[in-house]
Symmetry: C2
Subunit: 89 residues, 2 copies
């Protein structure tokens, strides 16, 4: 089972890296940006037959190591959620 974790700073936390990237893009002429934030994506391939089981185990990994609960939120997606829907890949 493949799973994907998105770890992002909580909405109220200042994202210094995102602000720097946004500013650099504005300098390159990309003036249409309202907001830009940078986080982490963690792609996991694991021996776990069911999406429910994978989600439970990955949630435990997030709580123990992958995310800092003070500063960050996380989102878990399993292969069910990741079927292509016309995304440019």
């Amino acid at each position: 089972m493949k799973a994907r974790v998105l770890v992002r700073l909580k909405p109220g936390i200042m994202d210094v890296q995102g602000a720097a990237v946004k500013r650099a893009l504005a300098g390159l002429g990309f003036s249409e940006l309202n907001d830009l934030r940078v986080g982490k994506v963690i792609d996991i391939d694991m021996n776990e037959p069911t999406p429910e089981g994978a989600r439970a185990r990955v949630g435990e990994m997030c709580r123990q190591l992958l995310a800092n609960p003070i500063l960050e939120d996380y989102t878990i997606e399993t292969v069910d959620d990741l079927a292509p829907r016309g995304a440019a890949r």
Copy 2:
């Protein structure tokens, strides 16, 4: 229009951070992992009415700044692709 960019190391490139996280998780008892790789997620909110237009502009941002084409691949998803499908959010 909201868009999301996933920037990951190309498959052949050694992911030191991912290897370190995988090993740390194994040390915590998560022995079911086959592979784990760490990349970046960039969440963008922009003034661009159409998904096609947003994807084109974000592609240009990736080529100019967001991704290193030697080492990294990128995936662009617009809000169409991001409708929840039972993901734990």
